[in-house]
């Protein structure tokens, strides 16, 4: 069965009234649960898995696609409205999405997030349909040296989120990397900086760190001054709550770029949507006609990471379906669901279970459509949430943060971490140290460390291994070029500022 025949067959099986109903229900449930911090797509699917597995495989998997896309969009909603990243891949969306909300453009940000998710999700699924076999071959060639080089490159990109002070960006990144080393060392089994706390054996919980630094830190900054007014303006007219034609046109290159980058990075197991979202953000900033707006509420700054975040799903399905390798937490839960249905993902899945695989892919197309149809009309409703007086909103944010963090591991210790990282987030803001490099370095740190140590084990401690393999050599070359560009670009920017001040 070729790709087009398979897809048509899949669509035929997927488009039934029952399947469509459960797809919409899944999308709605996914959005509602995904909107709660701490409950990202993996947790949302896991919570709703018993519901979905009660159906026939095709119906259950279609519902799960709806839950997944809904949960992804729910995560974006909290990032934009409340600066609470539901998962690591939403961190980048906070940067410009929350700034837009502060400027009274939350509806436009939410709208463009839904449209970008639809466009890029479709790119990702088209990529999955036609490029899966080729892409799988490339992914197989990605060993530890290639991952190390990719992570070094990605960490250098993190610095581009540093704002005006590269020095402070590096400090934030190093703190994030150091925090990621806390926990049991996977190679030797030795505990590192755990202070004999059993709760830290698995490392610091990401949700506690990110929700603390972003959400609690932001609340503490916002309540510094007592005010009776609402924190953000929300336009009254529905037309002003949704993105205009001009906004969509401006964001189109970012959406397309994000869609392609997200798919390509999604193919690499472990790289995940976090890397995809911020690599795409950096590319969008570099290629934008208005790069100065990034970080200050750029609509492209929301479109690019949201696009990458969603098309990564299509990419992540390549190693999952063709090799049985889950590239992310969500992939692992989906793998579990496939196994529950008696399907064993691997090279033979497309041949042996074409009757189920193609409906899964078709359901991803349908999930994207359902996401747009369901969520775009809900944008004004979500945006109006910001009309709530801040003195009511901030205790709610604090309580939701506590519940969200607790619900990940049912751990009071994690709530303690949330409190500590909340204070850290506040201190970082007061000292003008950018929090995004810290949080992203925390996510990338373990992947980078494992890949570097595996590479050095393979090469008998010789770093030459990175130059002996074409992909890693290319990535290292790109990292060197990026370093030069960063240094030169910063120097030029400083010079420009000096000229401007003198003028």
């Amino acid at each position: 069965m070729n790709a087009i025949d398979g897809l048509l067959h899949g669509l035929q099986s997927a488009i039934t009234p029952t399947n469509l109903l459960w797809l919409i229900v899944g999308c709605l449930l996914g959005t509602l649960v995904g909107i709660l911090p701490g409950l990202g797509p993996p947790a949302t699917i896991a919570i709703l898995l018993p519901l979905a597995t009660g159906f026939a495989p095709a119906t259950g998997l279609i519902m799960m696609a709806g839950i997944y896309y809904g949960a992804k969009y729910g995560g974006s909603t909290t990032s934009i409205l409340l600066n609470i990243p539901g998962e690591s891949s939403s961190v980048v969306t906070c940067i410009d999405g929350y700034e837009m909300a502060k400027q009274g453009r939350a509806g436009k940000a939410l709208g463009i997030a839904a449209i970008a998710s639809f466009v890029a999700g479709t790119i990702g699924v088209i990529g999955l349909t036609f490029l899966a076999p080729i892409a799988a071959d490339v992914a197989v060639n990605f060993g530890p040296p290639e991952y190390s080089a990719l992570m070094v490159f990605a960490l250098l990109l993190v610095i581009m989120l540093a704002g005006d002070s590269m020095l402070k960006g590096f400090i934030a990144m190093f703190i994030g990397l150091f925090l990621s080393t806390i926990g049991t060392d996977l190679f030797s089994g030795e505990p590192r900086f755990t202070g004999d706390q059993i709760e830290l054996a698995g490392g610091i919980e990401f949700i506690a760190l990110s929700v603390g630094i972003f959400a609690v830190g932001e609340v503490l900054v916002n309540i510094e001054e007592k005010t009776e007014k609402q924190l953000f303006k929300v336009p009254n007219r529905i037309r002003d709550l949704l993105p205009s034609r001009k906004d969509i046109t401006k964001s189109t290159p970012a959406m397309l770029q994000g869609g392609i980058v997200g798919f390509l990075i999604g193919i690499l197991p472990g790289a995940g949507s976090t890397v995809a979202s911020f690599v795409s953000y950096i590319i969008a900033k570099r290629t934008s006609k208005t790069p100065e707006e990034f970080g200050k509420g750029s609509i492209e700054g929301v479109a690019a990471p949201e696009a990458a975040n969603n098309s990564e799903t299509g990419g992540a399905m390549v190693p999952l379906l063709t090799m049985g390798i889950p590239g992310s937490g969500t992939g692992a839960v989906l793998l579990g669901a496939l196994v529950l249905y008696g399907l064993n993902p691997g090279p033979l899945l497309f041949h042996e279970h074409a009757d189920v695989v193609w409906p899964i892919i078709a359901s991803m197309y349908l999930g994207n459509i359902a996401l747009l149809v369901m969520n775009l009309p809900m944008v004004p409703l979500f945006a109006k949430l910001l009309n709530t007086p801040y003195k009511v909103l901030y205790p709610a944010i604090l309580l939701i943060s506590v519940v969200g963090v607790y619900s990940v591991n049912f751990s009071i210790f994690d709530v303690g971490l949330l409190v500590v990282f909340g204070l850290l987030g506040y201190v970082l803001r007061k000292l003008d140290i950018p929090p995004a490099p810290l949080v992203l370095a925390f996510v990338l740190g373990p992947i980078a460390e494992n890949a570097i140590r595996q590479s050095l084990l393979l090469s008998d401690n010789s770093p030459v291994i990175y130059l002996q393999r074409p992909i890693s050599a290319t990535l290292i070359g790109l990292a060197v070029v990026l370093m030069v560009v960063l240094a030169f670009g910063r120097g030029r920017k400083v010079r420009d500022q000096v000229v401007e001040i003198d003028a």
Binding site: F178, S188, T227, K391, L399, S407, G416, L418
Partner: protein, 210 residues
């Protein structure tokens, strides 16, 4: 990303000149709310000089603190963790040592830049907003969160949540509006119902009662 800084007074004046009349210069994020679009009065030159001095001192001290913290973590990494494994491969202390060395260097560089850097010395660098009144209010909210976190285990989520809300109503915001008070008091039970009852995410019930 939210940066809590105040730009130089001369920068703001230049912005007004560039933007033309009727447009407000960019304001610092802590000059909230943005809702009404009015900036607070620009700090006078004397205030700016004082802020610049304070900002410089804070950064120099911050750099030293980061370097000292890095040195302490380096000591721990070197004494508690093996830098190399049995076959001379990178050990568990490999990355921590490199990172802490980096932190020491970056901390010292930060201090040096703010001690001897031309922008810092001339007061041209953006100043930090470190008003004690603002910081005290933020810390009060943070302390309320600490109390809530400490009480969750013995009292359960519902009561700990109500205590947080009461601290907000009575101590921090001194709210008198009955509808707002009711809305706030209903928050913890609403969340309990959503998570514990509907989503079956078991929230702490309180070790004192169970």
């Amino acid at each position: 990303m939210d940066q809590d800084i105040v730009r130089r007074a001369s920068d703001n004046a230049a912005d007004v000149a560039r933007n033309g009349e009727g447009q407000h210069p960019p304001v610092a994020d802590d000059v909230e709310p943005a809702a009404d679009g009015h900036a607070e009065q620009q700090p006078a030159d004397g205030d700016h000089k004082r802020d610049a001095r304070l900002t410089r001192r804070v950064h120099v001290v911050l750099g030293v603190v980061i370097a000292v913290l890095g040195a302490w973590l380096l000591y721990m990494s070197r004494t508690e963790l093996a830098f190399r494994g049995p076959n001379h491969e990178p050990g568990p202390g490999y990355l921590p040592v490199l990172l802490t060395l980096g932190l020491i260097g970056l901390g010292l560089a930060l201090s040096a830049v703010w001690l001897w850097g031309p922008k810092a010395r001339s007061g041209e660098a953006p100043t930090l907003s470190l008003q004690p009144r603002h910081i005290a209010r933020a810390l009060l909210v943070w302390l309320a969160l600490v109390v809530c976190a400490l009480l969750i285990e013995p009292l359960g989520f519902l009561l700990a949540g109500e205590i947080l809300v009461l601290l907000v109503i009575v101590v921090i915001e001194r709210i008198r509006s009955i509808p707002l008070i009711i809305a706030l008091l209903l928050l913890p039970p609403a969340m309990y119902f959503l998570f514990d009852t509907l989503l079956e995410v078991q929230l702490p019930g309180g070790t004192l009662w169970y």
